[in-house]
């Protein structure tokens, strides 16, 4: 469980997060949605202790993120930032291997190698394993970063717009993989998404943010409703049930 209580954040004089309280239950996929600048990335950074907590309290699995040793947190929670800007000349397999660092402090065991190989396979990277990441396409690099995050093998996975630059095949593959690890291994996934239909089809719960506050949160079916969507995104859209899936028609 991720518990956020009374968290505010001010940067450069402006209020970025305003008294946010939120509980993300253990197990399942929670989508975090909202317009640009709503504070989604900021909230994720605070949960992942990438930014110091200014006020309020955040715990992951009962561990306060501001006082628990970073090493210990790295074994239960992995984060993929929106724009990590990794510029180092590492091979794909080496980068993905660093995901095991919290567990092995750099000495890859046979089991680690298995996990790395499985991660590469999972994200269709086996053929690229020996390539330098600065020679990959944007989507391939994004997949390598996702694979590294998976490799960390944590119970909690925070992903900030991981579908960025992924093609339809790999975007679907990632969402299905998240669904599977949540269902089969009880993982807790908190994922920032802009495509509302990805949230509608794969998430158990949706949390909506706007102007630094949580304005709606609940079961997917309770959020994917025209009135609520309009209050989040500021325009009206139709919601249809197509072949048993809630689908938002937002192009019209």
């Amino acid at each position: 469980m991720i518990e956020i209580a009374g968290v505010s954040l001010a940067l450069g004089g402006s209020r970025i997060l305003d008294n946010v309280s939120l509980t993300v239950p253990k197990g399942g996929v929670t989508a975090l949605v909202g317009p640009n600048g709503a504070g989604k990335s900021s909230l994720l950074s605070l949960i992942a202790r990438l930014r110091p907590l200014q006020s309020g309290r955040i715990t992951v699995d009962g561990l306060p993120v501001d006082t628990t040793p970073s090493r210990q947190l790295a074994r239960i929670m992995a984060i993929l930032r929106q724009d990590p800007g990794v510029a180092s000349r590492l091979r794909v397999a080496e980068l993905v291997g660093f995901g095991r660092f919290p567990h092995n402090r750099g000495r890859l065991t046979a089991k680690d190698r298995e996990i790395v190989a499985a991660s590469l396979e999972q994200f269709d990277l086996s053929d690229l394993a020996l390539r330098f990441i600065d020679t990959l396409s944007g989507g391939q690099r994004q997949r390598a970063l996702v694979a590294m995050t998976f490799c960390q093998g944590t119970d909690y996975i925070l992903l900030d717009e991981p579908l960025n630059s992924l093609d339809m095949f790999h975007a679907r593959n990632l969402m299905r993989t998240l669904r599977r690890i949540a269902d089969e291994h009880g993982k807790t996934v908190l994922i920032v998404l802009h495509d509302i239909n990805h949230a509608a089809s794969y998430a158990d719960r949706i949390v909506a943010m706007k102007d630094g506050a949580v304005i709606a949160s609940g079961e997917t079916g309770d959020i994917i409703r025209p009135d609520i969507l309009e209050s989040i995104f500021g325009f009206s859209m139709r919601v249809e049930n197509i072949a048993g899936r809630l689908t938002v028609l937002h192009h019209a």
């Binding site: 992942a48 090493r71 000349r89 590492l90 750099g106």
Partner: protein, 326 residues
Amino acid sequence: MTAGSLGSQNFAYQAIGAATLLALFVASLFVGVGELAIGSLASDPEALRLIMISRLPRTLAALLAGSALAIAGLVMQTLARNRFVEPSTAGTAQSAALGILVVTLVWPDASLGWKAAGAAVTALAGTSVFLMLAHRLPPTQPFLVPLFGLVYGGVIGAVAIFAAWHLDLLQYLEVWMTGEFSGILRGRYELLWVAGALVVLAWWTADRLTMLSLGRDVSIGLGLNYAGMLRLGLVIVSAITALAVVVVGTIPFVGLVAPNIVSRFAGENLRHTLPWVAGGGAALVLACDIIGRLIRFPYEVPVGTILGVVGAVLFLFLLLGRNRNG
């Protein structure tokens, strides 16, 4: 390419690399003023004395300084997240020279060790300020950081020159600013073993140094003590540079050329590339010192001067060919 063929290829490269270094090592023992033939070692005690007192210390000094400076460059590039900075161009060496000047002034009889300690302190301060300012420059302009480094190093160097001129210590400063091995004798280079130990320390922490280059957020996400690693890297860079400046003077370009060549071919996973960078730096400095002894025989050209030319050419070559096998 299968993992197996990569492994055997690596082994071949390692063998070639080790053989080159060994050849340069032996050549350095036997090249120079003072007749010396390999065959004479067993029969001639004078020859053995020459080797033990002068040539071996000189060779070891070049080996240690070369590998350590290459590693200092590598670590500094990791800290600055920019491939084109190194201690001798971005203020670290100049700060170290300024430090020795201060120690010489307040304590003229200070031993080499104390001078090195003083130099390390100022090098640490100078490098910290450089990195703090460099991190504020826009990452979209990769050449801004080295340019800023040149200006920054130039300013500190100018301050040192001005102070030395005022205090009538210019000849001393000259010695620290140009790297040279001709004065190296037994008893005058041993401090460089400390620099060698710092290379081992860098190798020991290679994985964590590599993670620094993945950026702050990725490092922290993986549970690395990011701030602590930055500090350790700073200490490694500053201490190595200070030791090298005190014992042999400033040797430019090693820290730039060796890491960049290795990164081009083998990438930046330091656990694998660090021995190559260290070996490459050692080979480069040894080779340039041998050239310096031969080019105007029987006179010597300082290694710093030779490297200024060789290094600049190599580096231009690297810069221009940067995008080719990218």
